[in-house]
Amino acid sequence: MTGVETVAGQRRMLLTGNHAVAYGALRAKPQVIPVYPITPQTPVLEKLLEFAQTGELTGEMITVESEHSAMAACIAASLAGARVFTATSSQGIALMHEMLHFAAGARTPVVMVNVNRTLALPWGFWADQTDSLSQRDTGWMQFYCESGQEALDTVLQAYRVGESVLLPAMVVIEAMYISHTLEPVEVPGEEVVARFLPPFEPERRLDPACPLSVGNTTTPAQWRANRLAMHEAMGQALGAVAAAGRLYGELTGRGYGATESYRTEDARVVLVAAGGMAGTAREAVDRLREAGVPAGLLRLRLFRPFPAAEIATALAGAGRVAVVDRNCSIGSGGIFCQEVRAALSALGQGGNPVLSYIAGLGGVNVSPERMMQIARDALGREGTNPEPIQAEGL
């Protein structure tokens, strides 16, 4: 392992987002890693195989015949009490869909990285949030990361949170703009991670010495009880995400929350974005401020559980809100925007004017100039927009 050692045993290295999450997985010491390759996730698998060959990674890698099988193996291994890691993207997560429900219903804290890539057809390799957002209702936690650094850090936090509430967690990075982007990343040392992430020791596990089965037919009342327990666990996850983000910050100097407000005080327009695009929006906010436009950014890091109250508080004083979605729910519009509007409405802040912008679908470039254009457009519009605004048409 090359690089420069920095504080607290951390090593500063040049890594792509894919390799950064592989380091995150390495540090979490998963015992079973079932994985199937797909562009643009493949370098995650390749790096983990490299770690396995050098002996750094002691967990068992299982190369399966499909993503559906990968997730099935994850669930079984997790039920047996193993810490499990996998990664996928696009068609891969689509094929896994059935098993994602199984994983959450079985309360297995699997951690999976998903690289946001377009879904077919047409065929493409580019950034688009629809693949993971389509898994919204599977019972998985979802984190959207702005950088390779955050993705590495979030893999570790996802284990801590997931294993405490017994829910699976998805760590999402955009194709190319994060997955294939080389940048400086601090890799935390094993000792720091050991202090942050205790071993996975579930109260109940599949064990031949004490036979039990999982997945039997239930009565309607039992099924309902299981669903409500999952929903309650999601509620607990909100607090656990905040606590894990704080503790991680104390240990590494990099703290995280469910959302992040950037220069939103006194902002007359607040951009709302998730993932790597939020970094571009951050730059746009600074440029707008320099030009005398009081703009801010609310970055959504956690999508499930949805931090509705935190978002409502953050947007309470905002003049205009412009949600930027790199996805489109066909027949409705931007998914993050729907969620933000619903949260504000449910919390009695329906009067907040929230505008919906769709930008960068299918990996179309979203420049800081485009983000600035969106903010200026939102400032100049009366009322709200029933139809999403296509940012490329501004």
């Binding site: 090359t2 040049l14 792509t16 562009t39 390799f125 702005e146 955009e174 190319m176 703009y177 994060i178 294939h180 982007t181 080389l182 940048e183 400086p184 790597g276 695009m277 970094g279 571009t280 951050r282 730059e283 470039n365 979203v366 420049s367 800081p368 100039e369």
Partner: protein
Amino acid sequence: MLEVRIHGRGGQGAQVGCQILAGAFFRSGRHVQAFAAYGGERRGAPVTAFVRADDKPIRLRCDIERPRYALVLDPTMLDGGAIVADVEPGGTVVVNSGAPLEGALPPGVRLVAVDAAGIAGRAGLGPIVSTVLLGVFARATGLVSLEDLQAAVEEGSPARNRENLEACSAGYHAAAGPG
């Protein structure tokens, strides 16, 4: 912020080249970012790669639309200058070409042409011209030292290390310094 865009074809080393250049900037103490856009891993398909370097952390997650520097690994991609028409005034375009170039560059943009294909061929690298052009870029712009670049080549070239180091050095010495 320094922004460099590399145009090449699959197999010429644009993708690895952007990582090597980022590695060299990183060694000089800068924050860096490098990535490539390509449609599936096909030989001969157009590849665009991007490198950013700055004194502060880089937050942008988007393509470089108006670079100050461009490297063109295949001169047939120049398309009469269209591919580099958005290079900023005062910038530099480095092209792999032994022959005089036709087509206009934007006003105030400096053209540096070197027969990188010839140098790469003699170094035993076949079509991989990116390390030669990185050497040319280092000399022509003075933005990165040959020492940092060579160290990054050493670490970043996946094969034929010695040949790539030779080619990089030859490219450096074939170019004129900052204009």
